[in-house]
């Protein structure tokens, strides 16, 4: 390989990503306080979910506001699979993913032809239907779900039952986050990635250059549903309790979208960045401000979302870009990789 090609390969970006990975893996060793590992786990799971949502909401630009339902489906299938003695929750988790993909296909198929708002409405409608069914019935298909009370997962601590120590969960979710980022990057830089961006900006033009628009939207939605379900299964095993109000909550479904949009939807690092920054702010606010000010923290998110949508649709990621361009501009760097840097 010629020298320049080599140089291109090990660009600072790759070194940086590697450094970030090493640091993330070392984090539980540096900070052994289980309390902070606990916060890190919560932040990581939201990074994971927002990145999963980003595939359909960010890359494909289809606002699946009700996609939180797949988190619930993944959680319930994994727990019931184990509880009814079919096998280990790991298999249940994958089964949950498959079932979520099935539901995602059934619901999204008809409404990908319709305009954006209808797709969001259909996903939220499905979320409500599943929530009412779970809350309404004490057992579904003969399996004990005891409605609103949720299901408790007995503590065994064995990894076969998807239960690990504090650090164990940290690493499992970190690995899942890395995997979803790899998957997102593969999508982003592949044919599917370009096709999704084309669909996102101009659906009509996309179809006349040979893009099967409904098919690619469907692929994005199915991948997103599958990943959300896996995350749901691991999350409830961490809490040792499946509460329908939590996993099928409309707030959770909204939150994973808000973190992604505020972070910068349609980018690789946006959702992770959004979930990380907002997660940590949320945690510190909750501890410092105490209980009665807590709802203000959530209200803050709503305001942040409105401001971001109005002034920086690209999210914090775009703000980061603007910041860098200003610094670069003021530094007066002579050699710049690209002739003309346009900020959209």
């Amino acid at each position: 390989m010629s020298k320049t090609l080599l140089k291109d390969k090990i660009a600072p970006k790759h070194i940086l990503v590697l450094a970030l990975l090493v640091l993330a893996f070392l984090f539980p060793q540096i900070v052994t306080q289980p309390y902070f590992i606990q916060i890190a786990i919560t932040v990581l799971i939201y990074c994971y979910w927002s990145s999963a949502w980003n595939i359909i909401g960010g890359y494909a630009g289809q606002f699946a506001l009700g996609n939180g339902v797949y988190i619930g489906i993944g959680a319930y299938v994994a727990v019931l699979f184990h509880q009814e003695g079919f096998g280990s929750p790991w298999i249940g988790m994958v089964l949950g993913g498959v079932i979520s993909v099935m539901f995602a296909f059934i619901i999204s198929k008809p409404c990908f032809k319709l305009r954006g708002t209808y797709f969001s409405l259909a996903t939220v409608a499905f979320l409500h239907i599943v929530r009412y069914i779970i809350l309404g019935f004490n057992s579904i298909f003969g399996m004990e779900t005891n409605g609103g009370m949720g299901i408790m997962i007995p503590y065994t601590g064995r990894w076969q039952d998807m239960q690990f120590g504090k650090e164990g969960f940290y690493y499992v979710i970190l690995v899942m986050l890395v995997l979803i980022l790899v998957v997102s990057n593969v999508i982003r830089t592949s044919k599917m990635g370009y096709y999704l961006s084309a669909i996102k900006t101009n659906q009509g033009a996309a179809s006349t250059i040979g893009i099967n628009v409904p098919k690619y939207k469907m692929m994005a939605q199915c991948i997103s549903a599958f990943c959300l379900a896996l995350g749901g299964a691991v999350y409830v095993h961490f809490l040792l309790n499946v509460s329908p109000y939590d996993v099928f909550g409309y707030d959770l479904s909204l939150e994973i979208m808000i973190y992604c949009v505020i972070g910068g939807s349609g980018t690789l690092w946006g959702p992770v960045f959004g979930a990380l920054v907002l997660g940590i702010i949320n945690e510190t606010l909750r501890v410092q401000l105490g209980s009665d000010i807590a709802p203000l923290a959530s209200a803050f998110y709503g305001v942040a979302l409105i401001l971001i949508v109005r002034f920086a649709p690209g999210g914090l990621y775009q703000l980061g870009q603007m910041l860098i361009n200003k610094i670069k501009g003021s530094l007066g760097k002579k050699k710049s990789e690209t002739k003309e840097v346009s900020v959209q």
């Binding site: 660009a11 590992i37 309404g136 005891n146 009370m149 960045f273 990380l276 209980s291 980061g320």
Partner: protein
């Protein structure tokens, strides 16, 4: 250009990750199963209640009771005598009724603040999660309210429950049926209107399981959707079936208000035996107005029960202090916290040390009866943590089985306990049957 963005982003992330680790200050390397501080002049107790969210009212009421008792122990009783006057220090956390937030607070209390005992929980979801984590981390805990059985369905020697859960409450309600049978005759069929939330469903299931035992021929189950906008169709069902003798609704307060109002609107004068929750909360009577008249309500505690306390002046001072703070009477959630926290005090006195194992041992041996602070403002007259089978064959561990759940009738704006006799309020003479709406 892309490379630079990633760099900035990464640095920010590293900073925030490290920042996460920063403020913890002392990098306590203690192993997870720390035994709590040795001796020293304070004992830390972790108190976790839903201080915001939909169950915030009950959470704050319970917290008030815990803080009042702590102040009383530290100042009036001079701290824990068996630990030469060690003071109790409360580490308070808000679970927001959500298990994930509860778990985060649990970690802070158990590993950062190093509490010796965990206390509270209240919501079923939070109790399910934290009872497991208390067992795993070997931290003694007393849960209050938390009526779901599942959290106590595992044999362990760390998590105790002083006030009743469904399994124990229903045992008691079976005895209650004898009284209703004498009063209401013939009592063949009643309707159970339950919302799909928490204990509504479970108490209906248990009632069904005990149907034959209690001699009912039929229980009509009418599920409703919590927070629904209208109950007219359910009330029509009640009105349409003349055999139904009385109705037992179990729902949150805003639904309960709407329910009794519509019962009045549709002139359905069926006796209403409200099952906890909505029919108990402080301002249910005030907001429901005269529609709440003659409604029966069951709870582990009614304000009028202070009359039967063994030291009425002491009970009165506490009730007045509570009234001053909240503007309404000492409620069930405060009473459960009262019972539970005095059990913690009782265990600390017997354990004589802040060591978690010793406290857990002491809690297991709890045997309270007679004139004890714990039973002052609570229906339970004795406290003993047993592993026994509750109602409908549900096995529960470390439960207090003396948890009476008396009936009270709402008459001119007040809860008046009518049964059992030893807890009944003196002023109110119980009459049956219930007059129809226009006679009221």
């Amino acid at each position: 250009m892309k490379k630079l963005i990633a760099t900035i982003l990464a640095i920010v992330m590293c900073l925030s990750l490290v920042a996460c680790g920063g403020p913890s200050g002392e990098q306590s390397q203690e192993p997870n199963q720390s035994s709590g501080q040795e001796g020293g002049e304070t004992i830390k107790i972790g108190v976790l209640y839903p201080l915001s969210g939909s169950t915030a009212t009950a959470g704050n009421s319970a917290l008030w009771a815990v803080e009042w008792i702590t102040d009383y122990i530290n100042n009036e009783l001079g701290g824990i005598q068996s630990m030469d006057g060690a003071k109790i220090e409360l580490v308070v956390g808000d679970s927001k009724g959500d298990s994930q937030v509860g778990l985060t607070e649990f970690e802070r209390m158990v590993n950062v603040e190093n509490v010796s005992v965990m206390f509270g929980f209240y919501n079923t979801a939070v109790t399910n999660t934290l009872s497991q984590y208390c067992i795993a981390n070997q931290v003694p805990a007393i849960a209050t309210n938390a009526v779901g059985d599942e959290a106590f369905s595992q044999p362990n020697d760390y998590v105790f429950h002083a006030n009743g859960c469904n399994a124990t409450n229903t045992l008691f309600s079976n005895q209650r049926t004898e009284w209703m049978r004498e009063v209401i005759q013939p009592m063949k069929k009643f309707a159970y209107v339950y919302d799909s939330a928490d204990y509504g469903r479970e108490s209906y299931e248990t009632a069904l399981a005990n149907m034959e035992e209690n001699g009912y021929e039929e229980i009509v189950g009418i599920p409703i959707e919590a927070g629904s906008a209208d109950f007219s169709s359910q009330i029509l069902q009640l009105k349409n079936d003349p055999e139904i003798e009385w109705v037992q609704p179990s729902m949150n307060m805003s639904d309960a208000i709407l329910f009794v109002r519509q019962m009045k609107e549709y002139d359905v004068a069926l006796p209403i035996f409200g099952n906890g929750g909505g029919f108990l909360q402080a301002d249910f009577i005030e907001q429901a107005g005269d529609a709440a008249d003659y409604v029966f309500s069951t709870s582990m505690w009614f304000p009028s029960m202070w009359e039967t306390a063994w030291d009425t002046d002491f009970a009165q001072t506490v009730m007045d202090a509570y009234y001053e703070e909240f503007g309404y009477d000492f409620d069930e959630s405060a009473s459960c916290a009262w019972l539970g926290f005095w059990c913690v005090w009782d265990a600390l006195e017997r354990a004589g040390s802040a060591d978690r194992e010793a406290i857990a041992q002491a809690m297991a041996e709890t045997d309270i009866s007679g004139e004890h602070y714990a039973t002052l403002l609570s229906g339970s007259k004795t406290v003993k943590f047993e592993d026994r089978e509750g109602a409908a064959g549900v096995m529960v561990y470390n439960q207090n089985f003396d948890t009476p759940v008396p009936w009270a009738c709402i008459r001119d704006g007040e809860y008046r306990v009518v049964w059992p006799e030893e807890l009944a309020s003196q002023e109110y003479e119980f009459t049956w049957p219930i007059p129809s709406w226009d006679e009221r």
